[in-house]
């Protein structure tokens, strides 16, 4: 049955975004409206005051872009309904302050001892620098794991009777699995077309296209500009090893290069901004402590088993928004003894509530853009970051890292994966290499042509800048004054 748009909403990035009755039903659920209370860029608005946009409008934007791609690929309306629904729901599992509160749920099996926080953080940094390398990426389309907002979103879709009913009536029961796979990046399920997963999960996907444009528009920077329409009109599909692959034809190479380069700069100048980085780190440390002490923030188990439970009672989850985070900080500030909050957590909470950053240690920043891991490591080891600050008891070293592209040329990739194939994989060697190549094509930006069925990645194309820029990485290390010196000596 054809898609019928019955209304539209005005978006300052894409203009009018149309939606159907079923999509409107989803938008009217409390679970979706919750996204209006979660800022896309967490506390970036303290530094870029225009960055007030929310996950709500971003979700509508992703639905819109995913559908543009689907129409370019000439997918039938029944398929477009599923793809649109996946785009709309892709962020429904997001945490307060977006990725900031999510990070502690995705990492950290260890407790920081409250009398040696700086040493614990810096110890990990020291180890990272000493083992610094830029390994060739060997795993693609990895899929999200428990704790990731995508996995939370999939759990919600499978559990909430209202959303399940809307999806089932609009798209069919089998689409529940497909939508969850599209959201979590799972290409392994036999009944899910990996092409659809790539629309939401690849180096150029609907999610990235929208957030690049939206974040730049609201932050006021120019880094999100690229030829979106040119890029999308160059999307095509090809088949490799029996699986459909999302590709661009050769006319889209310049637009794809522009997208990747601008993404690199938007991370360098906005996401990794010195002020935003340390503010977000403070928030992460506080949430990490709350999680591990089972205080104020739900543990992962509580989140999934009690807040999102089989009976569809989401009352607690509906309040799990940016406000939840700020209320928790206020609780710590006003009643620290009630929560056995250590002094450093109270101090960090007060700072954040007062919109105060950690003091940056002047001239401590090391910012390197290079392809040469040995050169980067040498520069890091010679810097005050390594010679002084990672041994500090009252300063913390924070770092950020971004590659230009995850991919390397085909020969280098094959060499890397063939280098250490163990005895247990020898029988499966051919299958193993084929799978690796396939997943590399699925995640990377593939280029196709009209002359034959051959496909290759941008970094293998003479017409692409990525052939020169692959392997380029940005790393940034900075030292900040921690509000309290460690009392213990590790």
């Amino acid at each position: 049955m054809a898609i019928k748009f019955t209304d539209k909403i005005l978006d300052n990035v894409h203009g009018f975004i149309e939606y159907s009755d079923a999509e409107k039903e989803v938008m009217n659920t409390l679970l979706f409206k919750r996204l209006q209370s979660i800022k896309q860029l967490s506390i970036a608005n303290w530094i870029f005051p225009g960055s007030e946009h929310t996950r709500y409008i971003h979700s509508l934007g992703v639905m819109h872009i995913a559908d543009k791609i689907a129409r370019q690929l000439e997918l039938p309306d029944q398929d477009r309904k599923i793809i649109r629904m996946a785009g709309l729901l892709h962020d429904i599992g997001h945490y307060p302050l977006s990725h900031v509160c999510e990070t502690p749920y995705k990492k950290g099996m260890e407790n920081y001892k409250e009398d040696s926080v700086c040493q614990a953080v810096n110890g990990d940094m020291k180890r990272y620098i000493e083992r610094f390398s830029l390994p060739v990426a060997k795993e693609f389309m990895v899929g999200s794991v428990e704790g990731h907002h995508e996995a939370v979103g999939a759990a919600i879709i499978r559990t909430d009777p209202q959303i399940k009913k809307i999806i089932t009536e609009e798209c069919g029961e089998a689409s529940i699995d497909i939508i969850c796979d599209m959201i979590t990046g799972n290409v392994k399920r036999q009944d899910t077309n990996p092409l659809w997963v790539q629309i939401l999960h690849s180096e150029i996907d609907a999610d990235g296209i929208d957030y690049m444009m939206r974040d730049a528009a609201f932050a006021g920077t120019g880094f999100g500009s690229f030829e979106m329409n040119q890029l999308i009109r160059c999307f095509e599909r090809r088949v490799y090893d029996g699986k459909e692959i999302l590709c661009i034809n050769e006319k889209g190479i310049a637009a794809a290069d522009q997208y990747l380069i601008n993404k690199f700069f938007s991370y360098s100048q906005v996401v990794f901004n010195k002020h935003i980085s340390n503010l977000e780190w403070m928030a992460e440390i506080i949430v990490d402590w709350m999680l591990k002490q089972s205080v104020l923030f739900p543990t992962k188990e509580n989140l999934l088993k009690q807040w999102i439970n089989a009976k569809g009672n989401f009352d607690n989850y509906l309040s799990f928004t940016d406000n939840f985070f700020w209320k928790a900080l206020d609780e710590i500030k006003t009643s620290p003894k009630k929560y056995y909050a250590p002094e450093y957590i109270v101090e960090l909470s007060k700072k954040l509530l007062n919109h105060e950053e950690l003091s940056f240690v002047s001239d401590s920043e090391v910012r390197i853009i290079s392809k040469d891991a040995d050169e980067m490591k040498e520069r890091l080891c010679q810097s005050a970051i390594y010679t002084e600050y990672v041994n500090s008891h009252d300063k913390v070293v924070l770092y950020s890292k971004k590659p230009m592209t995850k991919n390397v040329p085909y020969e280098k990739f094959i060499e890397a994966i063939e280098r250490n194939i163990p005895e247990e994989l020898q029988d499966d060697k051919e299958k193993y290499i084929k799978n690796k190549v396939l997943s590399r094509y699925m995640e990377g930006i593939c280029v196709c042509n009209n002359r034959n069925e051959e496909i290759h990645l941008l970094c293998d194309d003479d017409k692409s800048l990525m052939k020169q820029l692959y392997g380029t990485n940005l790393v940034i290390f900075r030292a900040f004054q921690f509000p309290l010196a460690d009392k213990a000596n590790l």
Binding site: K106, G143, E146, G147, E301, E424, Y432
Partner: protein, 159 residues
Amino acid sequence: MANKFLLPVYKKVFGESFSYGRFEDRLKMQKMVYLLQEEGVNIGHYGFDWYKHGPYSQVLLDDMYMENGTACMGLNYTPEAEQRIERLKEIFSDADAKEKYGVKNWTECLASIHFLRMKEMGSNASEEEILQVLTDRKPHLNDDALNRKAYRLIENLAM
């Protein structure tokens, strides 16, 4: 990139030191990390695909190689991580399974069922269908009662 959690968690779960040179150790590590990761313990973020011995990650193998022989660090686990690791340890230590399958095959059975159930087959696939695929692909895992036991354990493990 190396992973300081691998050796201490392996020791905690299996009660012995890890040795990269032993195939059985590598396989047990693969299955342990896969199940812990899927259970929400942040031991890493590895991508697993299905091969002859079930879910397998090349990057995890690389990390095992890098960590092999390094000092096994003491870790201050969070209560939640501690609980999950202990739960998995208990499952892996099942006496009946150890006797009939051995630890290696038992961990392979558990991880393989999980992968089939959660990643590869539809969410409406029945226990019968999943176990049929398991025994088709892995004829050495042919103890029906044990396989069903493994299925129940994996079902209860799901968050």
